[in-house]
Symmetry: C2
Subunit: 221 residues, 2 copies
DNA sequence: ATAGCTGAATTGTGATCACAAATCCCATGC
DNA sequence: GCATGGGATTTGTGATCACAATTCAGCTAT
């Protein structure tokens, strides 16, 4: 209807996001951070309305997200967040257990002190989210802790694949969190940080692997 | 791989494919099998015309495929097949080297003789494609050889991730093939089959890993 | 010859519409 | 009480359109 907003004025120039991109990013974040429970239904018109666009960008975003496994399309085209079977959860966990130690190991060679400091800050925020019993913030900081490390691996394809896995687990992680009311921060984060400081590859791989599998082991429905 | 439409009727019943699905599958196959060279440009209207649909389903397919890394969107929205850097190729190869031994190992426990026979048949077709110097058929049978094995692993998420990697490599594999005119079938396929017959997990992992890295090592531009 | 410029054609984007299928709701009947 | 049937509503699909941005061809000026 009205798309006349070309404002090159502001110096803090953010790239002119297309409508599709805004919707995609918004939905993706909601899903990955566990803001939507498993099985939550969405409609194209509803998505469009909530982002202030027509259904065309909404449809494209949904296609894209369902290609990444972040959304499920029923045979009739209905859109929901995925409800994962136990087998699927275990499989996704073992993929994480395969990829994350590899990414961590690659990052280790390039890690510096500033990186570890940054991870500590994020880990503190994570601990605070646990105390506040804030599931979304907990998931967000937890993933950011890992992503900050893996970004250092300079392996964008592998990180992209991993984020796909995180996406698929988003709604389930939320369900997990509310099921077992977590009271302590992830215990292995400290081990990860120590292995990084020590430059110990084997210890880092082990710490990452157990951090990943530990968290998802309790998911048995 | 995606919608499992339960059709209890005729076994040869093809599900009523939506226009979007037909376009998606068609394009995906062209890309994965190396029918398009790297950097090949596509247009939404052109895709629509060649599949007999409007640009709407074409656009959705392109979005989906670019989410999977099978297509690249320029900043202005132009669509091309990806031209991978050497670093990217190496990274994708190492992902294959990580995932494929794992899938093979999982399949090994469930493998039976009929499976190995089927793989031999595919491998023969692969050798014939080499003799005929048919790049598309070579790539197709090569991937089918691997997929036939991995299907047995009963790990759909992991296989899905791997197919994403294959997709990204499709156009590049075609360029590779035409660059070094292959004259012999992949030598490690025999080792894979023997390890399967022997039930030797370590040998299978090694054979798969070398088959994967060997094939892509020559890709240095 | 080559670099630069201008107008035409091409191309992606997002909105809207018609339509059919799926879903929901509620009254009816057992 | 519970299943059932039918009509209204919701919902996804695909086509089409207007529009802006990009791209390209051909011409001019140096």
């Amino acid at each position: 209807m009205q798309k006349s907003v070309l404002r090159p004025s502001v110096p803090s120039e953010t790239a002119p996001l297309s409508a599709h991109d805004r919707v995609y990013r918004g939905l993706r974040q909601q899903i990955m951070h566990g803001e939507l429970p498993p099985g939550h239904a969405l409609t194209l018109r509803g998505i469009g309305k909530s982002f202030g666009v027509s259904m065309t960008p909404a449809r494209e975003s949904v296609r894209r997200l369902s290609a990444e496994g972040a959304l499920t399309l029923s045979a009739s085209g209905r859109v929901t967040t995925p409800e994962l079977s136990n087998e699927r959860i275990e499989e996704l966990a073992s993929i994480r257990a395969l990829l994350e130690p590899e990414l961590g190991s690659r990052a280790l060679r390039r890690a510096h002190l500033a990186l570890i400091d940054r991870m500590e800050v994020i880990n503190d925020a994570n601990a605070r989210a646990v105390n506040r019993r804030d599931p979304v913030e907990y998931i967000r900081t937890n993933l950011e802790f890992h992503r900050t490390l893996y970004l250092r691996a300079q392996s964008p394809a592998m990180l992209g694949l991993l984020e796909t896995v995180w996406l698929q687990l988003g709604p389930t992680m939320r369900a997990l969190y509310t099921r077992l009311q977590r009271t302590t921060a992830p215990p292995h984060h400290r081990m990860i940080l120590e292995a990084l400081r020590a430059g110990d590859d084997a210890a880092l791989r082990l710490a990452l692997r157990t951090d990943v599998t530990q968290g998802l082991r309790h998911l048995q429905a």
